[in-house]
């Protein structure tokens, strides 16, 4: 029986790419839990399996073995649990932040946030109201109608954070969110994530290879060759 104390639970998670001679064990036997409101860093060198871990929890990369439980729903148990709507879970429970902001180039800042709300069937008006509010709270009130190309790197990443937060997800997954930013903007983004974890009571999992970025995190998992140590 799942324990409602945790937003994310991972048990003996293993991900193997390929088969036979060329098989790569990207994640080996990972077990951990993350509580709501907790800010966790996954730190490790390139190729150590950080993205694989994130995408397995993010329901876009099927685990080979082990269990993944998101907000009390068992989503993977030796592969995806059959009959589960991964897209719906991603819409409702997860928020993603990417290395490159991944904003949709032909939508304005406001529309980029609205789209995340509209795919969750919010009315246009409600989506607009909530997106505007969110962007203003992230100091982007003057950028609502700008296209991503007109935004600075830090601004674009803040819009992307607003999009990830829009549906008030239980879990936020960020893959190298500061990699495309300079140190100062990177620190600002991390500070923002810290603040949001507390305010929104979301579990936030941040992947990075940059040790300087993870100060003040609740926990730090270090990954080496697919093995996790905390």
């Amino acid at each position: 029986m799942a324990n409602s104390m945790y937003a994310i639970e991972v048990e003996n998670l293993t991900k193997i790419y390929g088969k036979g001679e060329t098989a790569v064990i990207a994640i080996a036997d990972a077990t951990f839990q993350v509580k709501p409101g907790e800010l966790v860093a996954i730190l490790g060198p390139s190729g150590s399996g950080k993205t694989t871990l994130l995408t397995s929890i993010g329901l876009i990369n099927e685990p080979t073995h082990g269990k993944v439980i998101i907000d009390d729903t068992i989503v993977a148990d030796e592969g995806w649990v059959s009959g589960i709507d991964l897209k719906q879970l991603r819409r409702e429970k997860l928020g993603f932040i990417f290395q490159a902001h991944n904003l949709i180039p032909f939508l304005t800042a406001l529309e980029n946030v609205m789209i995340a709300l509209e795919i969750n069937r919010l009315s246009r008006r409600e989506a607009k109201r909530r997106a505007t509010e969110l962007l203003i709270s992230l100091n982007l009130g003057h950028r609502l109608n700008n296209y991503p190309t007109a935004l600075s790197g830090g601004e674009a990443q803040r819009v992307a954070i607003a999009r990830a937060l829009a549906n008030r997800p239980k879990v936020i997954l960020a893959d190298e969110p500061t990699a495309a930013l300079d140190t100062e903007n990177g620190k600002n983004v991390m500070d923002l994530l810290k603040k949001l974890a507390v305010e929104n009571h979301s579990a936030i999992l941040v992947v990075t290879h940059d040790r300087r970025m993870v100060e003040g995190f609740d926990r730090i998992f270090e990954v080496h060759d697919g093995r996790i140590a905390s």
Partner: protein, 400 residues
């Protein structure tokens, strides 16, 4: 939020250019349909304006349009006497090309009986022909003015009236003269040729030892009468008395076995099936090729624009968009491109069709059918893009 429209708005330059290009293609497709309908209308113009029920032509011919037909003018009396015929009138047709101010002027000369029918359908300016000789009514397409003269055969003809858009089955503008004038232009050889003929026949007759000089002279005069005879026409058209049955009247005329009575229905078939069927097939083939080209262009554009959006599509999938949203975006763009291109093509044709050298007839049915075909093409053309989009993995959104 409509993603298709947002994307188009953002890339409007590219979208508009593509739509204009496609619009030109569709405009050509529309004009080809219009040309075919124009051919059809042209081919049937004279048939229509003559308002005859039966066209009597030479035995074993499909005259007078598709084939040559020559019959004596005086059979009009015999035709008129056939029970069921109310009116019969002879007509002569010939295509003439002359040089006018150093440019070739090609037209279709119709000779009609001033006391019969088959003359100009309307008079837009001036008057109808009144004198027996050397007056002419021309179609607008001749671009002549009242009072203008042209030389045909041995005489000058004066334009006295302008009629509407009357053209021959090959699209040449028509001109009307009296039957007698038309016969003279068509059949009377020029004076030199007549003199030559007379001398040749005279010499032959003088050489015949068995003829007395009086007999030779008598023969010479009669032969001259035949060689100079102009009393030949191409067709005699007949209108039926009220209540008369076309088939019965045709049967009565056919019984003499010297002439072929062609009903309007049959004449329509001869003109359309025989004369413009090839043009129809050719235009149809071109239209199909152009539509295939349009389909290829649309699918290429949609496919490349989908490739440009792989990351967008992956991101949308990752944040949980339903496939419907993504398929809808691509399909709507394709359809929108089709609608706009169709609109541009239509506008183009609407603005230019009167300036085409040949008549263009735009039938609403043809245009609606083309629209439906274009929409179907857009749906099919978007399949390659949609297939690609559906294969995109959400994980492709990650990374640089």
């Amino acid at each position: 939020m409509n993603l298709a429209i947002r994307d188009i708005r953002y890339h409007r330059g590219r979208f508009i250019l593509t739509s204009i290009g496609l619009g030109l293609l569709l405009g050509v497709v529309m004009s080809m349909g219009g040309i075919y309908r124009g051919l059809f209308a042209d081919a049937l113009t004279i048939l229509t304006i003559t308002k005859a029920d039966i066209w009597v032509v030479q035995q074993d011919t499909n005259g007078p349009f598709a084939e040559n037909s020559r019959i004596p003018e005086d059979i009009k009396y015999r035709i008129k006497a056939v029970p069921g015929v109310a009116l019969a009138s002879p007509l002569s047709f010939q295509t003439i090309q002359i040089d006018r101010s150093d440019k070739p002027l090609r037209f279709f000369l119709i000779g009609f009986d001033l006391n019969g029918f088959g003359g100009p359908p309307v008079i837009l300016a001036g008057r109808n022909i009144r004198r027996k000789h050397y007056e002419m009514v021309v179609a607008q397409g001749m671009k002549m003015e009242i009072g203008e003269k042209i030389r045909l055969g041995l005489h000058d003809y004066t334009v006295v009236g302008i009629t509407g858009k009357v053209v021959s089955s090959s699209g040449d503008p028509a001109a009307f003269v009296t039957l007698a004038d038309a016969q003279e232009i068509q059949f009377k050889k020029d004076n030199d040729a007549i003199r030559n003929d007379r001398q040749r026949i005279g010499a032959n007759l003088s050489g015949m030892q068995t003829l007395s000089p009086a007999q030779a002279n008598y023969l010479r005069q009669n032969i001259a009468g035949i060689t100079e005879s102009t009393h030949t026409v191409n067709t005699v058209v007949a209108r039926l008395a009220p209540g008369a049955n076309v088939h019965e009247v045709q049967e009565r005329i056919r019984r003499w076995n010297h002439f072929r009575p062609i009903s309007v229905e049959e004449q329509t078939k001869i003109l359309t099936k025989g004369m413009i069927e090839k043009a129809r097939m050719q235009l149809g083939l071109f239209r199909m090729v152009l539509l295939v080209i349009s389909a290829v262009i649309i699918s290429l554009i949609i496919y490349t624009s989908t490739l440009d959006k792989i990351k967008v599509i992956a991101t949308l999938k990752l944040i949980g968009s339903r496939n419907r949203v993504i398929v809808g975006m691509i399909l709507q763009q394709s359809l929108l491109m089709g609608v706009i291109a169709y609109g541009i093509g239509y506008l183009l044709i609407l603005l230019t069709y009167e300036r085409f050298p040949r008549r263009i007839v735009l039938e609403p049915f043809d245009l609606q059918l083309l629209f439906a075909i274009v929409m179907a093409i857009c749906v099919i053309a978007s399949f390659v893009g949609i297939r690609k989009a559906l294969k995109v993995e959400p994980a492709e959104a990650l990374g640089g």
